[in-house]
Amino acid sequence: MDTTLLVQALVSGVLAAGLYALVSVGLALAIGVIGIVNFAHGEFFMVGAFLAYQLFVTFGIDPVWSLFIVAPALFALGAIIYTSTIRFVLKAPELNQMLLTFGIGIILQNLALLIWGGDPRTIAGITYRGIGYQIGGVSIGLVPLASFVVSLVLVLGLYWMLARTPLGRAMRAVAQNRTGAALVGLEVNRVYLVAFALSALLAGIGGVMIAVIQSPTPVVGFAFTLKAFAIVVVAGLGNIRGILFAALFVAVAESLVATLVPNGDTLRNAVFFAIIFAVLIRRSWRTA
């Protein structure tokens, strides 16, 4: 095996971890702080992707800048959805939350189908999708590099916010003990609202990134959501930094297998989920 290919596989894998972490971080917030398993999270990616697309088509706004419009828009969408539905099921069993968010997901997906149709869309006319820096026969893609940096900033930023800011402390408090937090005077509902909206905002950023890399379609969020759930769970609920390591591990493993094994790309999901499965099972038998 050519060493250049091997190095390329490692580089591609490390950079791919950025996107994985990026799509996972918002979900981690929703699960970790509110304890809600949001089946509609993938549709937040999709809405973010289509908004970036529409801003580009209608106003010619480059996704680099529309990020700053899409993110607040998704924050607002998250706040609306929280206020109108989620807050009523906070104390309900988690299965009820799943059904609720699944329903919301179906609505968003089929609204998108009505508005944008089923054909894949493209943010054309951006110059950076095909740019790669060539170093000794190995290519470092600009877009993967950017998503890597963005996700690093977001994950560390979120970590810092949770650790150091009053809002973050409030979030950790309600995550650990809702009643206790209410007793010491925290407005639990307000904290949840912000956490859920923030989770949607992060999904919106992921969505813009997806719109740059891929074609927005009504079902574009699905594959990412499955993997994001797995990464969040393997990292451990509430462990924001763990997402980086989990994403890095699975992404590099995927990339290596995809490169070294014939037809390896079709084994990506198998490798990914086999690792997730093995880690969860091993951990459960070791610690209990």
Partner: protein, 400 residues
């Protein structure tokens, strides 16, 4: 008692569903209108709607307005089966049109055989020919009198693609294909034909399409193709793979002479993307075809739907409904034998030009074959037709 109950229930149902008393000819259509294949289904529906408007403006069928009833298959076999049986037994249609997804088509085979309506089918391109131990659509029902297949079979697709590849002067080809019933058999057929034509296939590598659970990171597969330094990269995938594949080919600095893709459709706006430059693609219809039928179709389609008929499924659906209208009118009745005879004998209109049903390897009635396919190339933001030569609007250019 039962009669009264039956009468009352049917009355209630009719009222509930708003069923108009069915006069004139009805054609039942099966299409995936929701889910991952919704884009194809919507294009088909748009094509059917345009044809319907024209047919009825021209006097309808047998002197009455033609009706179409479109059912969503969700690209799900069990749902598609129920939808077909609804069309046959609740809507009492005698003619079936539309179709997509080989999984759904395989689910319908048994019930098709039972009802034996005339089925004029756009989708289900998996012939089965060349796959050991697997019976495809053509092998299963191709010989039936009542079955008319419009879309080219898989071997037509790769036949056209390799014919194009052969005249690009490429000596080596790297094949990347998505790994389902669409890309798998297609790429195997392509490899055989490319080698038969004297080319060397340096790599045949599968990837997971973004339509089927992939997250669109194709760098590993592309790197491997790049390492073989092939003259041509030939990929078979879905519409939503176009953007990530094309971007990553550039990003990884893979510069073959020709990048050739064969998805069912191309994202409309992709033409304006820089990484589209010099990419070639297989397609069944293009709005910039210059034959008068294509010009009229594109104009009317745009007027009705506000967009270009970029997905060739729209053109095939249009041809599908017009063939029914013309054949039934020529037969003078909905008598099945008479309509089959007219379908077999007739020449029909389509945006691509006149066409008729001919036998294919097994099938008695095959609409379009290799001759449907065009190859276009993105050249400075415009899609130019580069193959076949007689339809070309510009010469093919190399990417290097």
């Amino acid at each position: 008692m039962i009669k009264t109950a039956r009468f009352l229930t049917s009355l209630a149902l009719a009222g509930l569903l708003g069923l108009a008393s069915a006069q004139g000819v009805s054609i039942g259509i099966l299409s995936p209108l929701t889910g991952g294949s919704a884009g194809t289904g919507q294009a088909q529906r748009a094509g059917f709607e345009l044809a319907l408007a024209e047919i009825n403006a021209a006097g309808g069928v047998l002197g009455e307005p033609l009706r179409i009833i479109i059912e969503d298959t969700q690209a799900n076999p069990a749902v598609g089966l129920a939808a077909f049986e609804k069309l046959m037994t609740e809507d009492d249609v005698e003619f079936i049109a539309g179709g997509f997804s080989s999984g759904v088509t395989l689910a319908l085979v048994e019930s098709f055989r039972t009802f034996q309506p005339i089925v004029m089918w756009i989708g289900g391109a998996v012939s089965g020919i060349g796959i050991d131990g697997f019976d495809g659509i053509e092998e299963l029902i191709g010989e039936e009198d009542w079955f008319f297949h419009i879309h080219p079979w898989d071997y037509h697709n790769v036949g056209a693609a390799t014919a194009f590849a052969a005249q690009t002067g490429s000596e080596t080809v790297a094949l990347l294909h998505e790994d389902s019933a669409f890309g798998g058999p297609g790429s195997a057929g392509a490899q055989a034909l490319l080698e038969e034509a004297g080319m060397t296939v340096t790599l045949r590598e599968a990837f997971t399409s973004t339509l089927l659970g992939g997250t669109g990171d194709f760098r590993a597969a592309i790197s491997k193709a790049a390492a073989t330094n092939a003259d041509m990269l030939y990929w078979i995938g879905y519409d939503s793979d176009v953007v990530p594949l094309s971007g990553q080919i550039r990003e990884l600095n893979f510069r073959p002479q020709h990048i050739f893709g064969a998805p069912p459709g191309w994202p409309t706006e992709f033409a304006a993307a820089p990484e589209a430059q010099c990419v070639t693609g297989l397609i069944g219809f293009m709005p910039n075809l210059t034959n008068p039928e294509a010009i009229a179709f594109t104009r009317d389609y745009r007027a009705m739907h506000g967009v270009d008929p970029d997905n060739y499924m729209a053109a095939l659906a249009y041809a599908n409904l017009w063939a029914y209208a013309d054949a039934i009118n020529a037969a003078g009745s909905t008598d099945q034998d008479a309509v089959i005879a007219e379908l077999e004998a007739g020449t029909f209109r389509s945006p691509i030009g006149d066409w008729s049903f001919e036998p294919s390897v097994i099938a008695k009635h095959q609409g379009f074959g290799e001759d449907l396919w065009l190859v276009f190339q993105y050249q400075n933001g415009v899609r130019e037709i580069v193959w076949p030569i007689e339809k070309a609007t510009a010469p093919l250019v190399s990417c290097r």
